[in-house]
């Protein structure tokens, strides 16, 4: 199963654009990175509905869904990194998550998500004969989670639901730094020997959770006539990254690699959120996620002047969103059937002195009568990095979510 999932992940080329923290864990895709959540500023985990789908921090919400939802998300993001007057821009396409939720009425609801929780993706090259610079750099890192979930409404209190999910972690990471030789310090008669040799400093490895098959989330959701809210707790865990460090002259000409295992203690996550329904279709929502990192993160590092660790901080995200639900009636005007979303967020990254502010606009566009929807979200913002080796980043992105909604076991009328 793992192989199938990994092959699928490799096929779609999961990646993210941020250049911050690539030697640590990479960029975190909060809340599964769905286009619908992004459109309302990553708020709305407490919002219930017929087809809200799976939330990776609030599995309890699933119990209130009435329809089967399959959801696939894409993100195109352009990042401009800047420091001290130097600029660097990169663009990336990624596929942050697949989500499937399957309500079973009084038997509760099942859900399955494939979520790229952390990622680092970067590939560039640069050559300058004057400075004898000749470099190609490639990061490919992903911490995937396969998240089966189950939620059920309490039989004696139907407004309340309980949910739980397990997060099975897998993935891999690699960094290839291919360098040309710099013979500027050699006498002329010795320069011949290495002028055409390119060497790759290569490290690759796999991710898993130490000593456990998964980490877990438990959640409680209340749905009231006007107000809905949730609380969830996600256990802490230790990520284990088995790495092989090597010098490569080509794919088939390498040194015998040396193995090292880095362990990253990821703290428990507390999450809560509230959704307030103003009018029949107008929703205001606020969400809050919080984790307290105790330990620094050991980096990929492995030589040169790369720092050995990344300092961490209390990591939280507060998000505020608004959504105007579209009409479910297919004979209404098309503009009335669209979900309109807007939101903003502030997020302290897990990396010390890195924080992000962003905003988004989104819409859910129904396609035909059968319940297929395209969610679009335009997002933008800035990541501020007040540390030596990280650059500030301005980002702008477009998220596209394809959602299929079906009424399983019920005849269409």
């Amino acid at each position: 199963m793992k192989k199938i999932v990994l092959a699928l992940c490799a096929f779609v080329g999961f990646s993210c654009a941020s250049m911050i923290g690539m030697d640590a864990l990479g960029e975190e895709q909060v809340l599964g990175g769905t286009a619908s959540a992004a459109g309302r500023g990553f708020a709305g985990n407490a919002k219930t509905g017929d087809a809200e789908g799976l939330s990776v921090v609030n599995p309890a919400r699933l119990a209130f869904d009435a329809k089967v939802v399959f959801n696939l998300n894409f993100l195109v993001e352009m990042d401009a990194a800047e420091k001290g007057g130097n600029h660097y821009t990169s663009t990336n396409l990624s596929l942050p998550s697949f989500n499937l939720s399957f309500p079973m009425n009084e038997f509760g609801a099942l859900g399955l998500s494939l979520w790229q929780h952390y990622s680092s993706s970067f590939k560039e090259d640069y050559a300058n004969s004057k400075t004898m610079s000749d470099v190609e750099i490639e990061y490919k890192g992903s911490v995937y989670e396969l998240v089966p979930s189950y939620a059920i409404r309490l039989p004696f209190w139907r407004s309340l639901s309980l949910g739980a999910s397990a997060h099975v972690v897998m993935g891999n990471t690699s960094r290839q730094l291919t360098l040309g030789g710099n013979t500027s310090d050699l006498p002329k008669e010795d320069a011949w020997a290495s002028s055409k040799s390119k060497i790759s400093d290569y490290v690759d490895g796999t991710w898993e959770i130490k000593d456990h098959p998964a980490y877990y989330t438990a959640a409680l959701q209340y749905r009231g006539p006007m107000v809905s809210y949730f609380f969830s707790f996600t256990t802490g865990y230790t990520l284990k990254n088995t790495l092989d460090y090597n010098f490569r002259f080509s794919e088939i000409d390498t040194l015998a690699s040396t193995r090292y295992v880095r362990e990253i203690d990821v703290p428990a996550l507390l999450a809560t959120g509230i959704n307030y329904r103003l009018n029949k279709r107008h929703n205001i929502m606020v969400d809050f996620l919080w984790r307290a990192w105790d330990d620094d993160i050991e980096n990929l590092a492995g030589g040169w002047n790369l720092p050995q660790t990344t300092k961490t901080q209390k990591d939280f995200m507060i998000s505020l969103g608004y959504q105007c639900d579209g009409s479910p009636l297919f004979y209404e005007s098309y503009w009335k059937r669209i979900n309109y979303r807007v939101g903003t967020w502030y997020r302290n990254w897990y990396i010390k002195d890195v924080f992000e502010v962003g905003g988004s606009l989104g819409g859910g566009f129904p396609l035909g009568r059968k319940g297929t929807t395209v969610d679009l979200a335009v997002q933008g913002g800035k990541r501020f990095a007040d540390i030596d080796n990280q650059w500030d980043e301005t980002f702008i992105g477009l998220r596209v979510g394809l959602t299929g909604i079906a009424t399983w076991g019920m005849e269409r009328r």
């Binding site: 470099v135 040396t258 030589g303 002047n305 702008i396």
Partner: protein, 490 residues
């Protein structure tokens, strides 16, 4: 309803397009890259934009051990056959034949007093006629003492020939290591090879013909030709070519039978007086296995980097640095060798390196030092100008440093390769000259015409010998070009 939707959508389109264009313009202003943006980012991450090459010379190095191995097991001569003596090696030629002579022919053979047998060998004309063959050395003339030995079996059994054919090549080669002939005869043969000659004919001994007269049914004849006192190594076509040797048995000038061998082999006999000497021979499976002292190399690296060598942390595989190029330079004295053609001969090197779960011998790559080649020629040659030999051992040194913690030594082999024709040419491949030019060879300047092919090697191995004993007694220099992952603070 549908109509309404389309109307709405198309009405909004110009606005959407205008907004998109505005977004693109704003985005292109906001998102820009500097020329050196990546280099600056790498630097801020602590990454280099190139690796610094450093050199380390380890002088006065003496080999820890060296030993010569010569493979004297029989080898196939089905394509190319040699026969004679060169460089203290004698090459014996074995021929395997099976035939069913007609009984009336055997009767005539017995009745004839002019009967006899010949063996015809066809000269390897592409070799003797080659443009680069030293034609001034022809003709070869000598009265050559040839020893001919034979084994003859005959049977009237219907399955006799089939039973011979079932003997595998490997089985036959193995049987030759314990060769016990039925009979032998020494003869003197007037060997004569001139330019343009096609074949030679060897008269076979009368005793062999007498034995053949007695055969009934099918015959299996194996012959061995040996000329340990020959002045040259002679080269012929083998049995699997268009010009296989011919065995001819005749009763008179018009009555004869002829057939070809179905299998041939060469066996080398080492006649070096000093078996401990480090003598390499060309043209044969001969190798000099050398070990360099690991302690000297590791100590020099330890002093150079200020780190412990060998690396003993974790799984002990050392990836802190790697070898970009390694070159071992030793003294050379060409008077300690001899060769056939007068061309320089390349010394090829292979190192013992790890591969998967085992160790393999990997032939070393050769990187060209263009300036030096143009000035003094390639430095991995013997029989040319200069008094030193430089061998590149990059793969071996990489592997050695990577895995030195297991106590291994740096081990490599040397062999004599093909005669080298581009002594001061940096092309290092066959090529076609596009203009009339002068190229420098070991035999002086050579004029080549437009469209002439300039070959890297002469296509035939030289049965040369080279004694490295004295070279190995003198100190050598190992020079390493290194790339390190160590940071500035280290």
């Amino acid at each position: 309803m549908k109509k309404q939707i389309f109307n709405n959508s198309f009405g909004a389109r110009p606005v959407v397009v205008a907004l998109l264009l505005l977004a693109i313009v704003l985005t292109s202003c906001l998102f820009e890259s500097d020329d050196n943006g990546l280099e600056s980012w790498l630097s801020s991450q602590g990454m280099p934009s190139s690796y610094k090459v450093q050199t380390l010379s380890i002088n006065d190095l003496k080999v820890a051990s060296a030993e010569v191995f010569l493979d004297t097991l029989p080898k196939s001569a089905d394509n190319r056959a040699v026969f004679g003596h060169a460089s203290n090696l004698t090459h014996d030629l074995f021929v395997d034949m099976a035939f069913v002579p007609d009984s009336s022919f055997i009767r005539k053979l017995n009745e004839s007093d002019t009967s006899g047998a010949f063996m015809y060998f066809f000269w390897l004309r592409p070799f003797y006629m080659a443009k680069k063959f030293p034609s001034d050395s022809l003709p070869y003339k000598e009265e050559m003492n040839v020893s001919i030995e034979w084994k003859l079996d005959a049977s009237t059994s219907g399955g006799f020939i089939d039973s011979i054919m079932r003997i595998t090549d490997a089985g036959w080669y193995e049987s030759l290591t314990e060769w016990k002939p039925d009979a032998s005869a020494d003869t003197v043969f007037n060997m004569h090879v001139a330019a343009g000659d096609t074949l030679i004919r060897l008269q076979l001994p009368t005793a062999l013909v007498d034995s053949l007269k007695k055969i009934k049914g099918s015959a299996h004849l194996q012959l061995r030709f040996s000329a340990p006192e020959a002045k040259h190594e002679y080269r012929f076509y083998g049995d699997e070519t268009y010009y296989p040797p011919i065995f001819s048995l005749y009763s008179d000038s018009t009555t004869f039978i002829s057939f070809n061998p179905f299998r041939m082999a060469n066996v080398v006999r080492n006649e070096e007086e000093c078996l401990e000497c480090l003598v390499l021979h060309g043209g044969v499976y001969d190798s000099l296995v050398v070990e360099l002292p690991s302690e000297r190399i590791l100590k020099a690296l330890s002093e150079f980097y200020g780190d412990d060598f060998p690396y003993t942390k974790g799984d002990k595989n050392d990836v802190r640095q790697t070898v970009v190029l390694a070159q071992l330079t030793m003294a050379r004295d060409d008077s300690k060798g001899s060769n056939e053609f007068g061309y320089p001969i390349q010394v090829v090197v292979g190192s013992y390196v790890d591969s998967a779960d085992g160790q393999i011998r990997r032939m070393e790559n050769y990187r060209l030092n263009d300036d030096l080649i143009l000035e003094d020629g390639h430095q991995n040659l013997v029989f040319h100008k200069g008094d030193s030999l430089s061998l590149q051992l990059t793969y071996g040194m990489r592997d050695f440093l990577n895995k030195a913690s297991d106590g291994r030594s740096m081990k490599f082999i040397m062999r004599l390769g093909y005669p080298f024709l581009q002594e001061k040419d940096t092309t290092y491949s066959d090529y076609v000259k596009t203009w009339k030019d002068t190229i420098k060879t070991a035999k002086g300047d050579s004029i080549v015409s437009r469209k002439d092919t300039v070959s890297l090697f002469f296509s035939y191995l030289d049965y040369a010998r080279y004694d490295f004993t004295e070279s190995f007694e003198k100190p050598m220099t190992l020079k390493l070009w290194l790339a390190s992952k160590r940071g500035d603070e280290e």
